[in-house]
């Protein structure tokens, strides 16, 4: 018996009114995504809506545009590298915070999470100032470093969420059976928290792939989102929509990885 009697307490009118409201807001949230995808298949030449007809010409044009192809490649490389770095550094930081009790632990956690609450544009500019100190110039390496600043705390956050259900006596049980700390981590902890690690890594990759504020300063203006932004600012045609289809598809592909972890952390705990 899950949730008895909601319908008996709340007024039916209020429920129906809210339902309509929620559907309208939901439609508002989805509207631009749906439109962007629809326009990709327009036979028209501009932003007119509804589209005059159906065609694949903008998909073809986008695929033939060198800036987009190059941007996609650069963004993909950056996203994968960022995902790897974030997975390793984020997961181990989460373990440090969850498994150990030491002085300054709360402060360490706050410092670790700090990049998430500070604006990307500020972090980007600040990193730009620092690049010469490492002998770097804006480019792929600088972009990966910058994106990892967001990715590491993100993974740590998601892993900490899945560790909040983690029973620490499992570690003691494993140790009592003769496993060392590393073995315990690899054979016990990691399998249990792997949904959180996966979800965090996928999120870090998506964030990197979509990032604008950091790439603005750290790349050569050639990541995919920047290329799209440039094309939107100067000549607006539906080939941007065609690239959008790719991005929406990519996000949808990520959903299965996120679903389980989101359910664990956001939905189930009542």
């Amino acid at each position: 018996m899950s949730r008895p009697g909601i319908e008996a307490i709340d007024s039916a009118g209020m429920y129906r009114g809210l339902l309509v409201y929620v559907l309208i807001v939901g439609a508002f949230l989805m509207l631009p995504l749906v439109l962007a995808v629809m326009l990709a298949f327009s036979s028209g030449g501009g932003l007119e809506f509804p589209p005059p007809g159906l065609s694949f010409k903008w998909i073809v044009k986008a695929a033939a545009t060198r800036e987009f192809r190059e941007g996609l490649l650069i963004s993909a490389v950056v996203a994968v590298a960022t995902g790897l770095i974030s997975a390793i550094a984020g997961t181990s930081a989460a373990i440090a915070i969850n498994h150990f009790r030491f002085r300054g632990r709360a402060a360490l956690q706050a410092l670790l999470m700090a990049p998430l609450s500070l604006p990307g544009i500020v972090i980007g500019l600040a990193i730009l100032f620092t690049l010469p100190a490492f002998g770097l110039v804006p480019g792929i390496v600088a972009t990966i470093g910058g994106h990892s600043v967001i990715g590491v705390p993100y993974v740590a956050y998601m892993v900490l969420a899945s560790l909040s259900n983690y029973d620490m006596s499992l570690d003691r049980a494993s140790a009592s059976l003769g496993a060392g700390q590393w073995q315990t981590f690899r054979r016990i902890t990691l399998p249990i928290i792997s949904p959180g690690v996966t979800a965090g890594t996928v999120c870090a990759m998506l964030l990197s792939f979509d990032n604008v504020a950091l790439s603005l300063f750290l790349s050569n203006g050639n990541t995919l989102p920047l290329r799209m932004m440039q094309s939107m600012q100067f000549y607006t045609d539906p080939s941007v929509a065609a690239v959008s289809v790719l991005l929406v598809a990519l996000s949808l592909a990520a959903v299965p990885f996120l679903k389980r972890s989101f359910r664990e952390t956001h939905m189930e705990r009542a």
Binding site: P4, G5, A8, I9
Partner: protein, 360 residues
């Protein structure tokens, strides 16, 4: 005398699964009735329908002469004490208690005097400025009861209201609340799966099984004269034995343990040769070291003697069956020891036929 509450043939199912089936129940003014049963038996659903948290599929509920079957919960005047107390965490104890009178539109003076009255009754006058998070479990329960009473409900509903307390505190609170409810003459329904709690508080106990009320009677009646095998089994600890209808020395008898155990004083309705299951309460069996009457059964052997405080539990083996006996602890010094040969002394008025449909 008019009934405060009458529940008439109420049913409720969830997604096609029947939770409550045609339950009827009547409560006299000032009476305390326990709905007792295992989890999933429908007792909470029945309580929720009385409180207005569920709408019955069919049937009718009257409270104080009003038909409340479909009345919204907030108009019912049925005060509930929730299992986890459901105290409003953002309100002090005082505001929790004042909440009911306030939302029911009582004047501030009236609300205040009600609050101090119930706070005195529950002895929580010193806690009024605290938040629920600052209270102990027992204090929370007092506040929850006070809050429900402050609305002057026609009926008080207790939903597993003691289950969150430690055993000693629980029994203390049961006694205190039992005295208080009787003193105030408040009609009460309590839902519990704990038979001790039902016995401790209730004037009558309704034993529920699979959505139905199996029996509703005074506590000693449901215990001593259970009307269904379920009621017998749910209350107290008991022995289940396979038996056949036969005869001993010419009188019809129930024979168990391969004829080693014969019960002759039982009225037997089944034809000779029928197989059935009988139940005997653990305290209905005494183990005697010497035959008291003309015992003809073969002796059993004591395998385990456990001291439980108020009682002693012994387990004896007779052939391939085990018999559990529970006797008052005062006899601990004289009771049999492990390995002793014993004779069963059975109070046959406490023997129940549980199942006579067993195929041969």
């Amino acid at each position: 005398m008019a009934h405060v509450l009458s529940v008439e043939a109420v049913s409720k199912s969830f997604k096609g699964v029947a939770a409550v089936r045609r339950c009827s129940l009547e409560l006299k003014q000032g009476e305390i009735v326990a709905l007792l049963g295992p989890s999933g038996c429908g007792k909470t659903t029945l309580l929720n329908m009385i409180a207005g948290f569920e709408v019955p599929d069919e049937g009718r509920i009257e409270l104080g002469g009003r038909d409340i079957t479909r009345l919204p919960a907030h108009q019912r005047r049925a005060g509930m004490v929730f299992q986890a107390y459901a105290l409003f965490p953002h309100m002090t104890v005082r505001d929790n208690i004042l909440y009911g009178p306030r939302v029911q539109g009582e004047k501030p003076g009236v609300a205040q005097s009600r609050a101090s009255e119930v706070a005195d009754l529950l002895r929580i006058g010193n806690l009024l400025d605290r938040y629920p998070s600052q209270l102990s479990g027992g204090q929370r329960q007092r506040v929850a009861v006070a809050r429900a009473l402050a609305t002057r409900p026609e009926i008080l509903l207790l939903d597993e209201a003691f289950s969150a307390l430690d055993r000693n505190l629980r029994e203390e609170m049961q006694i205190e609340l039992s005295l208080l409810l009787r003193r105030l003459g408040i009609s009460t329904i309590l839902v519990t799966h704990d038979q001790r709690e039902a016995f401790a508080l209730a004037d009558r106990i309704a034993v529920m099984e699979a959505g139905r009320i199996s029996q509703i009677d005074a506590p000693e009646a449901v215990y001593r004269t259970p009307k269904t095998p379920f009621v017998f089994e749910f209350l107290g600890s008991s022995n289940h034995l396979a038996a056949t209808v036969g005869e001993q020395d010419g009188t019809p008898a129930l024979l168990a343990a391969g004829g080693k155990l014969a019960l002759t004083k039982m009225p037997v309705a089944q034809p000779a040769g029928s197989a059935l299951t009988i139940g005997i309460r653990a305290e209905g069996i005494r183990l005697a070291t010497a035959p008291t009457r003309a015992h003809r059964e073969s002796p059993a052997v004591v395998r385990l003697v456990t001291f439980l405080g108020q009682t002693i539990r012994m387990v004896a083996e007779m052939g391939d069956i085990s018999i559990i006996s529970e006797v008052a602890a005062v006899s601990y010094e004289t009771c049999p020891r492990v390995g002793d040969a014993v004779f069963l002394d059975i109070d046959e008025t406490g023997v129940h036929v549980l199942d006579n449909a067993v195929a041969a």
